[in-house]
Symmetry: C2
Subunit: 189 residues, 2 copies
């Protein structure tokens, strides 16, 4: 998606070798119109898959996921990083390790909102090592749902999470995939 690549080049900030900061439009400050464009583009790539649910994890995937859900006209479910105090008995959960934060958390989804009749499109803002994605794929499996695929805004391809999941047969569509980057330099695949 050309407009996204241009926005990353204009506003993205590379920190160290692995961190790309795009908090001016994607995951701290959000550009609503641009988010809708991103949603339209991702929805278009899965238009014919019979998707019944868009699935993401809080927090920074939510805006894009809602935009995709709007364009596909299906509900969005977001996994929570804490079990709600009001969570009833039925839920799926999976462990997710964050290398950035050096911590592991469980993510939770009520079994009311994903089941074996669902065709699920997973959406997230970033794909790096793929840890969050693996947790979500695991929950889709637990629910007995079919995974239509994964839509990602920015994939850091050099971190190999996407490569590993594609080898396992998961369809992943990234709107911008970064081959390598360093301070002041971002090279797309």
């Amino acid at each position: 998606m050309q407009a996204l690549k241009e926005k990353i080049l204009a506003e993205g900030q590379v920190i160290g070798e692995t961190v790309l900061k795009v908090d001016s439009f994607l995951n701290h400050q959000v550009d609503p119109k641009f988010t809708m464009e991103i949603g339209r583009e991702l929805a278009g790539r899965f238009r014919n898959e019979g998707v019944t649910k868009v699935f993401t994890v809080e927090a920074s995937g939510i805006a894009v996921a809602v935009a995709v859900g709007l364009h596909l006209d299906v509900p969005v479910v977001f996994a929570k990083k804490k079990k709600a105090s009001t969570q009833d008995a039925g839920f799926y959960y999976s462990g997710v390790h964050s290398y950035t934060r050096q911590e592991s958390v469980n993510i939770y989804v009520s079994s009311k909102y994903l089941n074996s009749n669902d065709v699920v499109l997973i959406i997230d803002d970033f794909l790096a090592l793929g840890e969050a994605l693996r947790g979500m794929v695991d929950i889709v499996k637990q629910a007995g749902a079919r995974l239509a695929g994964v839509g990602i805004v920015i994939e850091k391809a050099f971190q190999k999470g996407g490569e590993a999941l594609r080898l396992e047969g998961v369809r992943i569509e990234s709107l911008a995939a970064i081959k390598k980057m360093s301070t002041g330099n971002i090279e797309f695949c």
Copy 2:
């Protein structure tokens, strides 16, 4: 907002005396089209206030905030509950106590995204005791920005958070305000 009240009556689940579960359309599963309707309605109430930023806190306020931002055509900023590993020096933070979870967290906003030129509309899914809202109002003050007001999807009016803030001069618009509730019974103001 009549459609919202009907949806709360149809799908809401009252647990104990203070918890209203609306996770089928608002804060776990999200109905994107309905979220856009909510956004349009809240945006309309602040249309003439010269709002430059919509402000919320992760996670469940994000979907509605983006819908409001889209209708007002301004950026959305969401406060984070953890300081980002990539957070630079300049940020505001404020402490928020959650009575539901019996814990206190800080919420963080980069000073790049709120400043003294901003006119801020705070958006959240729920208003109960007003703790999260007070944290956000505090951050708007720290930024030297003007607070246009607060837009809330569901206010549990019997918990008095809104009443206290209105007495302090904050304009709060709630799309559905609940006077009292118990199992199987919800009474709007």
